[in-house]
Point group: C2
Chain length 188, copies 2
DNA sequence: TTCATTTTTTGATATAGGTCAAAAATAACC
DNA sequence: GGTTATTTTTGACCTATATCAAAAAATGAA
């Protein structure tokens, strides 16, 4: 999915505004397993993932890496609070495949928010979408068995579940990798 | 906390804009244990809770009511997707105490979003805040023991934890009420 | 106040999923 | 292509928390 199409699908910008907005995004290619953001540093960019997969994760108090979120094609990828509040990130962010992204800086997106009323609207709509998605995860995690959680994963990230390490998925779902392995076996 | 102060704290509206915005909110008093939104119906209003406590909850597939979120004084209260996407709500919403709220309709808030660029900004900021909060809950729930979860609850909702039924908190935290009761006992 | 209802606590037992350890299967690299 | 490193699977055992049941405490209505 192209970023322009994605934006258009959410807010009907006049074409010349969209063109201007697009000019602030920079295309980048990022190799597999590149850590794009470290814990403690401030997230400098908002990425739109055109191709590839990424995840955010953090180091929990038992010294284990826990996946917080997966990012697939056609989605924005960032550490939301760190980027928007310019605060030290609590999590890491990395690519899990060679990826093609479009990135924009905080400065530029703020400029666009100021410049275009519709850009703010776009920001609001995207944020509400994100809230809904996280809320879905929460509902899945909170009261469901390990195997229900895996079904949620398959539904929410249909084309990611088979492309990323099992351990990353297990920690995302709050179960151990051994348990996930056994679930997959039953699942055939 | 007054709603005007809350809005001011997030975005610096010119006073006359704020005044106009305020005029679209209607003060309401809602008695304890009033169901404000039913599962399946479309959430008609966004509420700002000036006084009282509320919660949203849903009926899970085992026929149990599960608290999804608590709303305390000085916060907005709504079913986000239902209100903004005008879709049937997946959850119920109720007051847990006699409450004083300021409400606004979807139609009016959309009008204000269109009218004031800064209103869109306010909407965006609020949504990001909400995402952060949900994300905090998720991190607490996902990998922590029952007792850690209760500590999260105390921290996130300091002045709510002692005002609402134990069973409502237990389901919010994804544990049984018996377990929560035992935790509270140890807690001294 | 008293009685009925709801909520919370306590006790006994069961179980889903965790932990630890090692084997098997894949993937990465010279 | 063979060797090493990484990831996944399998097995045996354990523990935190669920479940079920019933007593105690708190709340509310008349």
């Amino acid at each position: 999915m192209q970023i322009a199409d994605y934006i258009r699908s959410r807010v009907d910008f006049p074409e010349e505004e969209l063109k201007d907005i697009m000019s602030y995004f920079r295309k980048e290619t990022i190799a597999k397993n590149t850590v794009m953001l470290n814990e403690g540093s401030i997230c400098q960019k908002l990425y739109f993932l055109e191709k590839g997969v990424g995840r955010s994760y953090y180091l929990n108090k038992n010294g284990k890496y826990v996946t917080q979120w997966f990012f697939g094609e056609g989605n924005f990828m960032t550490s939301l609070e760190s980027f928007f509040q310019e605060s030290p990130s609590l999590s890491f962010m990395e690519t899990l495949e060679d990826s093609v992204v479009y990135s924009i800086t905080k400065e530029n997106i703020d400029y666009l928010f100021e410049k275009y009323h519709k850009m703010e609207k776009f920001g609001r709509i995207i944020s509400i979408d994100m809230t809904t998605k996280i809320s879905n995860k929460l509902n899945a995690i909170q009261f469901q068995t390990a195997s229900d959680r895996y079904n949620y994963m398959l539904k929410e990230f249909p084309n990611i579940s088979m492309r990323v390490p099992l351990g990353d998925i297990a920690s995302y779902l709050g179960i151990t990798q051994e348990t996930l392995s056994r679930i997959r076996k039953k699942h055939y």
